[in-house]
Assembly symmetry: D2
Homo-oligomer: 287 residues x 4
């Protein structure tokens, strides 16, 4: 349905992430190997942290593979935290407001998968969004709504707990409407400092998700690989599918798990839906 | 904010309506005289009834003045009922799902004006939309939501009553949120047979709206005007601003009024908001 | 590189050609089986003859598969002669002026393939275009230039001879610049009455091209197939790849051949490049 | 026809140039005061020098005023040399390859005005472009062709002489084809270090052009103006029309003149067309 990439590490030119790897995200836009569709041509988006530590967004409804503006940007923009997403629509309109990543304040969010039978559950889920956040909804996708449910449930305070509650609500509302498998997801979210990646689906057969081995390990293993030279040892990638065939470079995120990438300590932990709860304090809308 | 045109009459090439007149709608996209903005370049839309009596839509996010596809279509498509709209966004995104006219089944709808302070009232108004219709909402505009409120209130059975109830709700919800003047509107809607045009605003200073004099009268008055030759005597236009300076050709729709154009009998009647009511029978979603 | 479809016959809704068949052109935009690329997502175009017998064009830079305007048009436009093309760029920009079909007066033209090493031969080939036609060149593709070479060589008088001369020039200029295989092509062109289809390549391994069996024959063979009911016996399709798996429905156009589809008599004949010649009388530019 | 802005000085966020000033370029896209048209909505472009000292381009066919990607970029990209252009087409297609600034290697170029009766002289002018440069032509505008004529005449060695020769050719070819006033122009070009601005027209009534007073002078004159705080004393702007009404801030470039902005020394000198000459050494195409 979609493919995405999240990077955290030393400052890197976007093109090193998006164009240089053998099976880069741009290559995946035409030739995805592990995705639900081989073509992901219904728009794309890139988010990065720059000026003042705030995230910038570039969204386009064109396919990524031939987009000249993306190629220009990628050759000139450097960042330490990058989210990139290529879209294969499951039915909602091809428009910039439906392109990932989505943004709220310092936070970015992107999603691969679907809230199944979305038309049946959309209204009830939308009602659960915090009233102060409601006016920020701009598009029509399940993915953006999912983000605002997570924000309502406290994403900014405790991402794993908030995502678990949002998924809990989606499971519960889906079940109440007779949806067999309410959710299919890999999700990435970040505040610019840490990156969280989630893999889960109601039926226990989730879309693929991988994280990169420590660069330090790889440098020892492949001392002659030029791709690894410019990247600091802290760098990590979380991706829908590996960007190349380098042995030992990629680890699959297990079913029903989430990982955190941050300075000093990475984590991998089990993930399961939790009962819906709104955090006590009202969420402030993004200024 | 926007400009629009509604035509009903003998079959006509779209370009006769959109390009040929001296101050055509396409000219208004760059040089509106009576609009809130002189430039209406945030996309456009055309709806027409054709094959099987069902309406077709063409929506674009480009300015109308240089759109090559619109020029091609206009030179090749004929219809007896045509809606055309050029947009000047009041803040919502420039995307096809925000382009007028909007469609539900056989019905088309377009709007010039705004639900003021929309972010404050959007949630409550959205909740009033019939649950069966809710999944059809595709964009993020006040205008589309207004259409679905009117549908919920029975537009398909009694358009003037339904629009009056929808406006009643908008006035009431606006007042409850402290909005000084909740609505500014000219609206056109049609089922392909009749066309209704409404002019109203909370402050009693509504956007301009005009309807054309009977072609029969004009033909007597201007026997040498070639523009009138090809048009049947039943033809009528309702427009945001006159398409030219032909004396006697245009009548202003009075404040707080609506008109109906249909075969055999036109009407002009007062319009005022009515208490919100949902029609007894649930609305069937468009198939 | 691209895929295309040319239809000539009884009046048909575009969607019968573009969306209904099992392996329709829209399906080929994502899942081409015989093309050089499986994805043809770099824009599309449709040309049809309508009002006054003149061709209309609809060009878009979006992928065809999710284009809402194309779906609307296809459901409302009928024509007796339809050209449709989905593009996979070989490097030139994704823009409407590079979308097929191209038009000159009553003539349409579309091409699958390439003039190889185009940058090396473009200038010399462009110089060969009739000076009166030169200002009509709007895009940057090899395909549009090829069309104007054919027009210069007399396309409007004798299409097979003109295309043969244009190909002769391309072969000759390519050879002079050391290009191994100067041209790869299937081409369709029409004046709205007859349709010509060409298959040729310098290396003798041309892109696929098929024409439909007579509908009359098919109706006898498949009396229960509803797809054949609404189509007159004169109807013919020329396509890059078959629109379905109906046995006996599709014939491959042989290497180095061209076919003509017209009322009363179809033809299939050998095709070979001829020496370049400009027709004696200067070509009039399209008004 | 168009409006543009060229900045050279201390590193600045693009939004300081494009959005913050009272009569910013984005404001001019809807409300130009001195331009040939008040609306400049046929696409835009920004070029800036960044990574490795090479220029980046961002081109869009959308109007600048509501473009979300431009607003994002402008809030996150800093540069010491910025070119920005908003377009009002004089007839050629609205497509990215027709958006200014144009680029060759390290050079950027933008133009306001027109080569008059372009269709009549285009072929002859195109033939004068260096054969090695010819394949780089991507769009269909007079402005891009003018750039490649200047490159052919030695822009990279001596910009004022090269532009004078290119204008000489345009005057000569126009005259030979009976064009009354062959050229109308303001032009900006840069190699990233110096910026050249030209003002000229065949009829001696050129489009407006202004350059900013020295920031040092302004700071003394307006010690309380916050806009001047962050800008170094070397900063200079060359603009189609002033960005605000600050008295003393803007000087008109005289008719038939050009100016150079560079570190250490600015210059203003007369400009007149010179006989066409191609520089002795062939121009290398951009790699």
């Amino acid at each position: 349905m979609c493919r995405w990439l999240a990077y955290s590490g030393s400052s890197v030119l976007l093109q090193e992430l998006l164009y240089v790897p053998a099976h880069s995200l741009i290559d995946q836009s035409l030739h995805s190997r592990l995705g639900a569709t081989t073509t992901n041509g219904d728009g794309f988006g890139v988010g990065w942290y720059g000026e003042g530590g705030m995230p910038a967004l570039f969204h386009s409804t064109e396919p990524a593979w031939n987009d000249r503006n993306l190629r220009e940007l990628a050759a000139h923009v450097r960042s330490q935290t990058v989210f990139a997403h290529i879209r294969a629509s499951t039915g909602t309109a091809i428009q910039q407001t439906n392109c990932h990543p989505f943004r709220h304040g310092r936070w970015l969010w992107m999603h691969n998968g679907a809230i199944h039978e979305f038309a049946r559950v959309k209204r009830e889920l939308t009602l659960a969004v915090d009233e102060a956040l409601y006016p920020e909804l701009q598009g029509s996708t399940d993915s953006e709504l999912f983000f605002y449910l997570a924000l309502t449930a406290g994403l900014e305070d405790d991402p794993p707990a908030a995502v678990a509650r949002a998924v809990g609500l989606i499971e519960q509302v889906g079940a109440a409407h007779g949806v067999a498998h309410p959710i299919q997801m890999t999700v990435a979210t970040t505040d610019g400092a840490s990156v969280w990646g989630f893999r889960y689906s109601s039926e226990g057969q989730s879309r693929s998700l991988f994280y990169s081995t420590s660069v330090d390990t790889l440098k020892h293993q492949y001392p002659d690989n030029p791709l690894l030279h410019g990247v600091g040892d802290e760098a990590r990638l979380i991706v829908s599918e590996p960007l190349g065939d380098l042995k030992g470079a990629w680890n699959e995120v297990p079913e029903s798990s989430y990982g955190v990438v941050r300075a000093g300590r990475d984590e991998l932990a089990p993930f399961s839906p939790q009962p819906w709860a709104v955090r006590a304090q009202a969420v402030a809308p993004a200024s």
